[in-house]
Amino acid sequence: MKKILVTLLFLLFGTVANADCNIKSGSINILANDFPALRTLVETAKECKGSADFKVTHSAEHNKIAVPALTANPSEFSVRVAANSSIVPLMNADLIRPMNDLVKKYGKGIQESQLITIDGKVMAVAFMANTQHLYVRTDVLKENGIAIPKTYEEVVAAAEKIRAAGKMKYPYAAAYKAGWNLAEEFVNMYIGHGGEFFKDGGAQPNINNAKGVATLNMLKKLADLSNPDYLTHDSEAIKVEWESGNVAIMTLWASRSGTLLDDEGDAKITAATKLVAPATVGGGNIPAATLWWDGFTLAKNRSDADAEASFRAMAHAASSKDMVAKAADQAVWLVEGFVPGPKSVGVIEAVKMGAKPYPMLPQMGLMHGALGSEIVEFLQGNESAEQALKDVEAAYITKAKEQGFL
């Protein structure tokens, strides 16, 4: 915890450590999600490509492509930019290679805290942190005499007040799209209530309890204050709602703030938008949010030469002080030399408040999948909270049995 605070809050003076960019051979092919910070990172890596082949695929569908593409031998991509959750299927299927030797040889500028190690093996190098936190419209809150909400209970009260004042029909927004997004909101809220997903370290599910019910009820309250189409809204859709001025309080990824606050759109809304800490819930003291890192991994089914070329290019980007200085607005970089700006508030506050990282467990993906489809009927009002949680556990158990976890 301290490690990241140190990283984020202080400017560390160190030796300038440029990666050696003298790459002579090999080919580099990168698969990454599509948002501005990752584009910047990949562009920076490209500067260093030397005479190596360089290809990149930015796709919002990266999760669907990754496992099949890396299973092939030789695999389509040599680098996969992953996060806490998406590295798990790669490790489960043994598709990425440890890079201790490469880090030793070429990773001079990479900080110790950036390394993701599993049993001492470096499986990924992180370069940015992310979380979901609150965005508020200061003008609307002020007009209605509301203080900036610190808990989800206050968010509900504030949104109800704004609605009652006739200001906005749907004052709250969060990415509640059925599937991955909705499940992520459940994960956040459940962790905020202090819940554990599995029974004592095993793979048996543990969500059908009072904390689970409280989580669902809070999600329902918030959903009732959102645009009625919330089950179809992903992060991009609620960003559009915000930019049209329909929303006063929103829970959104820190990494989306860059395009939310750019010059496009209504300047008044942009000026009144404030990024604040993630909210707590149910009297808990840790935020109802999860911490995420984004980092790069190297495909196992590629030649050593490709892995070396890929590592050197990516390491150059993941330690580039120049990049984090220029793109300080785009992300909360974990790279040495990053000076946090106003857009980093959410992540820094989350770390200060003791937010937990998203659980990096082999069976978590199955739980996430079961949540995404089984709690929908509760939100639609067709099912009780207990029944929905029972369904989640049953669906999870069936899948976990098929996958050999139970």
Binding site: K3, T117, M360, V376
Partner: protein
């Protein structure tokens, strides 16, 4: 055509079918009987930018050994077919014994993922197919009766829904029914309910997808019927006019019997297509309210970070079985007619 030349004529197509359809189906069938090996988990120290902690990972050394011995996985027999996410035999019998009324039983079974998807798929099939046949036929009749001068552009306009990519077609409608779209907003005003949402209501989502299905598939029926109408002989029609038959009687007694084989053909194709309904669910982001069998397969393969091959294979095989069951009556009928014609 002699059998010999028929064989050589059919050979390339047959070979391609075996290679690209037959073999994959067989491989899917085999896959559906297997599940993953038991995962061997070990506790290790994991460190990331947010700190270190002890937690579990899959033990790759042990796993790769087992995988090498049995690459297909653990034999599971019909285990995947009868688990909760498919036919759910245990759950169904449990519900049967604990339910007090038939309604309660049906409600509980309808909450299981496979039956939920089956219910939507069948509803879609049963409503869309007849509507498509009827609408296609009516359009074909009307266009056939229209002056030749404007027929060309009209035909083009009519088949437009089929030309538009399914995903684009559904997205256009999706934005129109948005709470702020032209249809969604007007419905709110009309019903005087500012919180009405077509997208979050299950019934309205079903209706939207069904209407979209009819809109999208009708042109196909129309094109085939229109072509068939061109072959209706003029003499019996003229004779019936002289005999004083009304327009309705002419259609019923001369046109319909003449194009009957074509109707069967269109019905077959539509049933098959509709049973595999998929694109509109993605286009409308309707996963929350409407799931079809094809969507279940998609969900198992791509929506989760862990790919469930066994589950997806079992659902695929059951979809094939489902299509065969639905088509049996139509096929039997065609076969009988074929025999009597000889």
């Amino acid at each position: 055509m002699p059998n010999r030349s028929f064989f050589w004529f059919f050979f390339p197509a047959g070979l391609a079918m075996i290679l690209f359809i037959g073999l994959p189906i067989i491989s899917t069938g085999i896959q559906s009987f297997y599940a993953q090996h038991d995962q061997i988990l070990i506790e290790v120290k994991k460190c990331d930018p947010f700190g270190c902690k002890t937690s579990v990972v899959v033990d790759q050394e042990a796993t790769s050994k087992i995988k090498e011995e049995k690459p297909l996985g653990k034999f599971n027999g019909f285990g995947t077919y009868i688990d909760r996410n498919h036919l759910a035999s245990d759950q169904v019998s449990e519900f049967w014994s604990e339910s007090k009324s038939l309604g309660e039983f049906i409600g509980k079974v309808g909450n299981l993922p496979f039956y939920k998807a089956l219910l939507f798929t069948l509803t879609y099939c049963v409503i869309v197919t007849p509507c498509v046949l009827l609408l296609g036929f009516i359009i074909a009749l009307s266009l056939n009766a229209i002056s030749r001068k404007i027929r060309g552009p009209l035909i083009f306009g009519t088949i437009l829904p089929m030309i538009v990519t399914p995903l684009v077609g559904s997205l256009v409608l999706f934005w129109m029914i948005d709470a702020e779209g032209i249809i969604g907003a007007n419905l709110q005003i009309l019903m005087d309910d500012p919180y009405l949402s077509v997208k979050s209501s299950k019934a309205l989502t079903w209706i939207t997808i069904i209407i979209y299905g009819v809109w999208h598939h009708s042109p196909f029926a129309f094109v085939v019927f229109y072509a068939a109408l061109q072959t209706v002989p003029q003499e019996p029609l003229e004779a019936s006019i002289i005999d004083g038959a009304s327009r309705f009687q002419r259609v019923k007694h001369i046109v319909l019997p003449h194009i009957y084989p074509v109707v069967t053909f269109v019905a077959l194709i539509s049933l098959m297509d509709n049973f595999r309904v998929f694109e509109p669910i993605i286009g409308f982001s309707a996963e929350g309210s409407a799931q079809s069998l094809s969507w279940l397969i998609y969900d198992n393969l791509v929506n989760e970070e862990v790919i469930l091959f066994g589950s997806a294979a079992a659902t695929s095989i059951m979809t094939i079985v489902g299509i065969s069951i639905i088509l049996t009556p139509v096929l039997l009928r065609t076969w009988k007619e074929f025999r009597t014609n000889r």
